[in-house]
Symmetry: C2
Subunit: 165 residues, 2 copies
């Protein structure tokens, strides 16, 4: 996810390129469109994910106006995040496949296309694919003014992933 955070900082620069420097001073007067295929996917680091994970950055947080970044994250079967918290919370929208999520209360929930997940600030959680099927979610992650949006912790064990506390 460190790579992901770096991408979030690079994104505004990329968007400036798209707009063209000539109109940079007018950017607050017009929309910005970032076309599909212009932002490379990033492999999820094995420091923060178990298994194969692909991150597709979409947009970065924009100060106090829109203090959240967005990315599609695809987990191959069995893949999942490490345990982590978000300082101002995270919304997840499942957009394909079937996955699993758990939190600090010991829950283990199946999530499917169309499910909407809210993780409040500071709640320790994890999310990923089901054992035999991939899962993609849109992650909308609250971002502090200093750019911080996640605190990474230890891996989710196979026992935790399979629902044994």
């Amino acid at each position: 996810m460190k790579v992901f955070i770096v991408m979030m900082f690079l994104l505004p620069a990329a968007m400036n390129c798209y707009e063209g420097q000539a109109i940079a001073s007018e950017r607050k007067q017009s929309q910005t469109i970032t076309k599909a295929g212009t932002q490379p996917s990033v492999r999820g680091s094995d420091k923060f994910f178990t298994g194969n994970v692909r991150i597709e950055p979409l947009f970065s947080a924009k100060g106090t106006d829109a203090p959240f970044g967005g990315a599609y994250v695809t987990f191959e079967p069995g893949a999942r995040t490490f345990w982590h918290t978000h300082p101002t919370g995270q919304q997840l929208l499942v957009v394909s496949g079937v996955g699993r999520t758990g939190d600090q209360t010991g829950t283990l929930e199946e999530v499917r296309v169309g499910d909407v997940l809210w993780c409040p600030p500071g709640v320790k959680h994890w999310h990923g694919a089901a054992p035999a099927t991939a899962m993609t979610h849109l992650a909308l992650t609250g971002t502090l003014p200093d750019g911080k949006n996640v605190e990474w912790m230890e891996p989710v064990t196979d026992e935790q992933y399979n629902g044994k506390r």
Copy 2:
């Protein structure tokens, strides 16, 4: 969109039902999952939209932690919003089809699956389907503490929709 705003206020109540009142006092200690199929679609009002528009509410803004609401919006061919602004901006992610968008600078842009659109605070814009194809986008709309997230204006004329200024 007035209906949409009403839904955004009803959503927290619906989520309380999902969690169950018994754990309401603990809600900040655990995740909340809103299952697909539990939040009815809403028809876009003809006071704010031209043509057939369907809104699928996903989640409401959550104070200063996550001050934005989310909904899928589907526009049938030729359908579009009226002109409007957002007090703290709006992110749009095109998730299916081909559409059009314009802003106060007189632009007319085609948008396709995977395109990401950012409308800054106060910029007058519109968005909708292409003339012959439907378009669905995820709308992530910044919301003020008082719940306000949009200021509606006049309809987009056929001339504006077709790119004649």
